[in-house]
Symmetry: C2
DNA sequence: CGGGGTCTTGATTTCATTCAAAAATGGTGG
DNA sequence: CCACCATTTTTGAATGAAATCAAGACCCCG
């Protein structure tokens, strides 16, 4: 489990805002800037030649995305919710990274923090069975989602969840319904998620055939 | 597209050998060593609690795997074929990395080289349709596979391919048969692969409905 | 109070999985 | 070189799960 941005980068920066749906950067563009998310949720999107759309990761407050591991961005980044973020120029980020390297031993963690959700999504969609995938997805999300008292703030459309899970919105809907009927979750509002039985979700995600006991 | 190990790390090292099937390191173990592959193919494996097995990436000669982006390995690494490799201690690797950072601007590429195949696998298995996934897989592999004149050396079992593609060995077999019947590939021996019609494979991988034209 | 997008639901179809068994392959030792 | 073994590949038939197609309900926005 990776924690976001263990080593915050100190620079003179101005905070920016992106509206829901806005694009931060495009897959294939040169990595000129690193985006440090301060508030909100972003998605990494990849478009196939056929028009299929995949979401390769969701990113949260504290994450740094668009790190120059290659010279081009590997995904398009879009705001899911309104987003507060700051830009770091590639050269500025490199310098800060180097400074940071010399000081602590933790200097690679911020890279792991971007790569980890991508890795985990690969594992999630490699699982067999719709419910398993949905529950594995929930387990990945709920320790990053902001919470509103008893509920998580869950502003993802079922289309986005489908694009993340490599399934259809209809199937996502049916999966959520089943979890609701099993008493595992509740969705009091469209953008709220309440976890009623975390153990059941974990158990399903772990692939157990019989839930309970 | 990432090239492996743009910045080879110079250190006093002794080359080691792993036999096919041997384990290099285990998921969850502390990242004490970086493994630099000199020859052969390795696989990154993840086991689910239920016993499912996923292959999250294949790695090739020139790749550095097990980089300390976190403090634990995220996958188990196993030799697919006999493997020549060298070990770098974490601290030694860190030092070399830092030295390397100061010199060139390319210093993050070796990290990208490990992350990229993982990322690409996520995209591949997010595609819809067996043939599409198989062809996307082939496109990812064939620019890393060693070649033997006209054929690629392709020592992967269909079980491994299935574990990579999140499908079954039987389905992999049927997919390959179909590609053979379409004249896209040939498999003269168990561990050889000949690409007869690369464009057809690309076209299928791109998601085109009608192949040809 | 519309109206567009999202969510929900049902009926049907399609595709991959499963199960089972035979054939092929590669390796081993006699 | 050949017989034998273990493993992998191949194939078929039946099953099952999710996609698709098509409508209707709901929600939030202006």
């Amino acid at each position: 489990m990776y924690r976001p941005a263990i080593a915050p980068i100190e620079m003179p920066v101005t905070e920016r805002i992106a509206r829901a749906g806005e694009t931060l950067f495009l897959e294939g563009d040169p990595c000129d800037y690193v985006y440090e998310l301060r508030e909100g949720i972003a998605r990494g999107v990849n478009f196939m030649a056929s028009g299929e759309r995949q979401i390769s990761a969701f990113f949260f407050s504290g994450d740094q995305i668009g790190l120059p591991l290659g010279d081009r961005y590997r995904y398009t980044a879009e705001a899911v919710t309104e987003l507060r973020y700051v830009l770091h120029s590639r050269s500025g980020w490199n310098e800060a990274f180097l400074r940071n390297c010399r000081d602590g031993g933790q200097f690679l963690q911020s890279i792991g923090a971007e790569q980890d959700p991508i890795f985990r999504r690969g594992i999630v969609i490699g699982r067999h069975g719709l419910l398993v995938r949905i529950c594995a997805f929930l387990m990945v999300m709920i320790d990053r989602l902001p919470s509103d008292g008893s509920d998580f703030i869950f502003p993802l459309t079922q289309s986005d969840i489908g694009a993340y899970l490599a399934t259809t919105p209809e199937s996502v809907c049916r999966g959520f319904r089943q979890l609701r009927e099993m008493g595992a979750i509740a969705t009091p509002k469209r953008d709220r998620l309440r976890i009623l039985d975390r153990e059941m979700i974990e158990s399903i995600a772990s692939g157990a055939d019989h839930w309970g006991i």
